[in-house]
């Protein structure tokens, strides 16, 4: 059964005693635009969901009209900050004790009068129906719990990378997050509320309750309360975590004196739960009884789940319900049980946002006309609380209090995000090279590194908005927010899934957006683009004078030298800031001499002697020198060889990375100077697409749908990924079904050290997939 537990009478008494720990307007955000409410009232927690819109400042670039050009001096394009409205889903979780206070607050801030209905689910929905209708003036419309649960589950599995995880109590990191599967179905959901429901989910709309058990969370709570005279569920779990079940349970060795070898049953196995309490004439401690009860129930549920998984031939089994809900003790015992009964064939999976599933589902039921499932959604790290610490040492009581208000925000992304069709195995693709949740040393460094860089980022943000006097104040708020996130991550590296350099960068971008710094580098990018453009023709001319062989090498060096110009890298931003004249030529001298740290240039060069590629997809990195003097000449050469080129750039700003909007203007002005580029554009052999991302890194499993379509249509046979963020922090190990080229300069001495190189070491990784049917065509004759 789903969550049927009513409010414990002991907590409902002092509703008003507790004060809300955060200012309510930081919890119930964007209420003024809120519409489509949903509420899920469980045994102890209420989850409120609403859809709202957020006004963002976004930086837009626009080409100057030639007629007005003289008025603006040297600039190629203008930057304007515009208001953009994006859709955001808000989910707030709080204790039932706060329900009245919260409803009052929501009522006071509710402006939108179109809203007439609130979707409701959960066992407490009918109990609070009257209260909700009275307080909010909305009609309560009840939705089936299980349907909501499944809808919510599908939604998070589809939209939140690292939603599911395996729990391993004794491993270096307790959480092992799972990569998003391209196809989330079929799966088994074992919902452990007061009872247990086992549901097989085959598609968005097709699911079936295939079984269940009456021995669930209610049994643990009810029986536990009787045995230990302990009232609260959390307290029972705490007792259990301190107890020894072996004094209450009859083990195999209590019967056999050792193991039952012929059946492979070890001596420590429980033969009979509570078996000793039937015979031993003594008092048992509360802790020991609670522990024995926890084992009994977890093992029983695990066994049933395995039997159903086997019968229906399912290997993905998710566990949820209030019995699980982030409690390390129950996740551990359930995991243990599943491992025991399936001998490791099935893994117990848990969900980061498990507590929100019902609310998300109820919301989706009410929002069907908005078609939320046709979009991709992304977790807004700035507005989401993240997973609570579940360190076993931590008192569950403290956990409950510190988690008084928990929030999840999901931003609607433009269109739907899909896999790069060229991934060798989409289901095993992991974008990130290093998982900082597992690598404590690397985690220490990067958290320190991002904290160190914070001053610079704040300075940059303020400088980007010289006309806005309150920018300094906002920037300060940004600093606090991001520093707080970093502190949280220091203690709970798993808060938003696996901690990676990418997630640290993305969190920073989310926080900047939160405080209306949509593009702190816009001015710098503009200046550098303008400067680099002036040098373009000269650079191309120099290259054209080289022999073919020399040119190929010079082009690669050009891309690499261009990549040194990166404001995202601390080592470089110091240099760039102190010496704006730091030139392209100087950068080339700074580069490591061959052989590089990773050097497959010879193979690449051999390959170039062969037939041209059909189509190259180039994931570009920085603005300025990088894109204009490094990438464009390289693209020009590819076009001259007869290769079509698709340039993929970010949809939105991140650091000084070139955005799709900027790149369009840049490409046009280069085309005006360069007939090769011009012809490419005219003949549609040079195309620009947006990646769908606003991150300095690259997740090849979440790309814009159009990009994927272009890849397929043009029969792309070469993928080029440039830069530290896209080719080293992510995708370093990505395996593609076509040739790939990963180029980057290491601009971080710690990372260089880690990889066995030094500052400005070069990674040039040219890879050809293992021979397959079409490899013959690619081999140079």
């Amino acid at each position: 059964m789903a969550e049927f537990v009513r409010v414990d009478s002991s907590t409902s008494g002092h509703t008003m005693d507790k004060s809300i720990t955060l200012p309510p307007d930081e919890i119930f955000r964007n209420l003024e635009n809120a519409k489509r409410f949903a509420i899920d009232i469980g045994g102890s927690l209420t989850k409120l969901a609403y859809y709202s819109t957020v006004q963002h400042k976004v930086a837009k670039v626009r080409s100057f009209d030639h007629t007005t050009k003289e008025a603006t001096g040297d600039n190629l394009y203008e930057i304007s900050v515009q208001e953009e409205v994006t859709a955001r889903l808000h989910f707030i979780k709080f204790e039932n004790a706060y329900i009245e206070t919260c409803l009052d607050f929501v009522k006071d801030h509710l402006v939108n009068t179109e809203t007439k209905v609130i979707k409701a689910t959960g066992g407490g929905a009918h109990k609070f129906k009257e209260l909700i209708e009275r307080k909010l003036g909305l009609k309560v419309d009840k939705e089936d719990e299980m349907t909501c649960l499944i809808k919510g589950c599908n939604f998070v599995l589809r939209n939140i990378p690292h939603e599911a995880f395996v729990y391993a109590k004794h491993a270096d990191s307790e959480f092992r997050f799972q990569t998003t599967q391209p196809d989330i179905f079929p799966y088994l959901l074992v919902n452990i509320g007061s009872g247990v429901s086992i549901v097989k989910v085959e598609s968005e709309d097709k699911f079936e309750r295939i079984g269940g058990s009456s021995i669930g969370g209610g049994t643990f709570w009810g029986l536990g309360a009787l045995l230990t005279k302990t009232k609260r569920f959390d307290e029972l779990l705490q007792l259990a975590s301190k107890g020894q079940h072996t004094s209450v349970d009859m083990l195999v060795k209590d019967i056999y004196g050792g193991s039952y070898g012929s059946l492979g049953l070890t001596g420590d196995l429980i033969a009979s739960s509570f078996g000793k309490s039937a015979t031993a004439d003594k008092e048992f401690s509360k802790e020991d009884m609670a522990k024995s009860l926890l084992h009994m129930i977890s093992n029983d549920i695990g066994q049933l789940a395995c039997l159903y998984a086997k019968l229906h031939n399912l290997s993905r089994v998710y566990f949820g319900g209030f019995f699980i809900r982030g409690h390390p003790v129950t996740m551990h015992t359930i995991t243990y049980s599943i491992n025991f009964f399936t001998k490791g064939e099935v893994q117990a999976l848990f969900l980061r946002h498990e507590g929100y599933l019902g609310a998300i589902g109820a919301f989706l039921k009410g929002a069907e006309e908005d078609n939320p499932n046709q979009y991709s959604w992304g977790e807004n790290y700035a507005g989401s609380s993240g997973l609570m610490s579940v360190s076993p040492d931590m008192n569950p009581m403290q956990r409950a209090r510190s988690g008084t208000f928990d929030m999840l925000e999901m931003d609607r992304l433009e269109g739907k995000l899909v896999n790069l069709p060229l991934l060798q195995d989409a289901s095993s693709y992991i974008p990130d090279t290093v998982d900082l949740t597992e690598d404590a040393h690397a985690r220490e460094y990067w958290l320190y590194c991002f904290e160190e860089a914070l001053d610079g980022v704040v300075k940059r943000a303020v400088a980007s908005q010289p006309d806005m006097p309150e920018a300094a104040e906002r920037a300060e708020k940004f600093r606090q927010k991001y520093r707080h996130k970093l502190q949280t991550l220091r203690h709970q590296p798993f808060a938003y899934g696996s901690l990676t350099v990418r997630s640290l960068l993305d969190t920073r971008e989310h926080c900047l957006n939160e405080f209306n710094f949509p593009d702190p580098y816009s001015k710098i990018k503009q200046r550098e683009n303008d400067m680099a453009l002036k040098y373009y023709q000269k650079a191309v001319k120099c290259l054209d004078e080289l022999s073919w062989e020399e040119r190929q090498f010079a082009l690669v060096r050009g891309v690499l030298a261009g990549n040194v110009f990166d404001w995202g890298a601390k080592a470089v931003s110091d240099v760039l800031e102190s010496d704006p004249e730091f030139g392209f030529e100087q950068a080339k001298r700074q580069l490591e001499e061959r052989p590089w740290l990773v050097d497959s240039y010879d193979q690449w060069f051999e390959r170039l002697k062969g037939p041209p590629h059909k189509c190259a997809m180039f994931f570009v990195d920085n603005s300025g020198v990088d894109i204009i003097l490094g990438v464009m000449p390289f693209v020009r050469e590819l076009l001259s060889r007869g290769t079509e080129v698709v340039l993929a750039s970010n949809s939105g700003p991140a650091l000084n990375d070139v955005t799709n909007g900027e790149l369009q203007i840049l490409t046009e002005s280069i085309a005006a100077m360069d007939p090769v580029i011009q012809a490419g554009l005219r003949e549609d052999r040079l195309t620009l697409v947006q990646s769908g991302s606003s991150s300095p890194c690259l997740d090849l499993s979440r790309l814009d749908k159009v990009l994927a379509m272009v890849v397929r249509e043009r029969k792309t046979d070469l993928v080029i990924i440039e830069g530290m963020g896209r080719a080293i922090h992510t995708n370093y190990y990505a395996m593609l079904r076509c040739e790939s080229l990963k180029m980057a300069v290491i601009k971080n001495s710690w990372l260089a050290d880690r990889l066995g190189g030094k500052l400005f070491s070069v990674v040039f990784k040219y890879e050809v997939p293992a021979p397959s049917q079409h490899s013959a065509a690619l081999t140079p004759s």
């Binding site: 709570w221 056999y256 033969a271 739960s273």
Partner: protein, 452 residues
Amino acid sequence: MDKAKSMIDKKGASGPFHVNNCQSQRGFHANGSCCSSNTFGSSTGGPNSSTFENMHHLHRGDDAECNGSPAKRCRLRRRTESLRRSRPPFPWFGMDIGGTLVKLVYFEPVDITAEEEQEEVENLKSIRRYLTSNVAYGKTGVRDVHLELRNLTMCGRTGNLHFIRFPTQAMHHFIQMGRDKNFSSLHTTLCATGGGAYKFENDFRTMADLELLKLDELDCLIRGLLFVDRVSFNGHPEGYYFQNPSDTQSCVKTTCTLDNPFPMLLVNIGSGVSILAVYSENNYKRVTGTSLGGGTFLGLCCLLTGCETFEEALEMASKGDSTNVDKLVKDIYGGDYERFGLQGSAVASSFGHMMSKEKRDSISKEDLARATLVTITNNIGSIARMCAVNEKIERVVFVGNFLRINTVSTKLLAYAMDFWSKGQLRALFLEHEGYFGAVGALMELLKTTEDP
């Protein structure tokens, strides 16, 4: 008609000797004093050969010189055995030492000749008298008189098979008694199965100078079960099931035998539970088990109600109402949960009402005992049903001492099997519930001493 049936039953009663081809010959032709070497062995013939097949073999064996045929081998063995006269000396015991209970079967020969009587040593006589003239031993030992198998022929001897049990906790008293009665002077091996055979082996040796022959409990369970079913329960079938299990009014206990017993899912509910898929007497696998068994029922009952014995716990359970403790589907939905086809009367959460303090304060011990019993029983039923479906076996046989004097559970299991499988599965029960392991151990005694 009745007469014919009773004839068959009677043949069934001497069944063990029909079951194995060689013995069948013996059973019909040889003189009673000579016992087949492999009555309970498996070297020849199928364990589930029918009487008819046996007679067929008998015929072949008589008129043909089949080289190496079972019949020939049997004759050879008979010859060697008759030379050795290797029937094990009395007393004949089989013992199953479980986690909670020790089950003891004792074969009391009733065909003792005057000569034998004279030869019989005094302590052997005293053991026989002690066991057969009492129904209770010490504070905790009990003889289940109603289960006694009378006039049974085993190994060429006729006698009564007695069924005795006592708590495993009293094991050391038992061993001491064995020492005091100088048991070791009678014979050196005592066939024992169950975990205690391993756990107490050393105690038997050091305290009473007794050597245990340790036997696998599942082997013994299956062998004993098939044997008792074959010999029948004093002329009546050993097995039973419930007709109309889903209707408490017309639910009737109906006897039956395990004709063509294979494959069967055997659910042995002792302190814990083992679930076996049995394909033949010697071909079976342990599918799974659960730690929620009889020990859990009694253990929780003791903690929740302060009771001390299984009988007390069951007595309380029989008077209680579990719906005061368990949360039902209708307690949550006001009726059936139609979306999932769940009846309102189905238990949604065992002990679910006990989350509320008011309900905890107002509950009776009887209700708690009943809820514990229902919870454990339903859970076993649920796991057994899933195993039956996974193993594609339709017949589920429940045994073990948890079912002793426990009609609440047997009826509930019968109902659960029938209801949740929509009539596909049938639950069968056996009268000697928990004693099959001990019987199997005794059979091993008779077999091993005769093996070359």
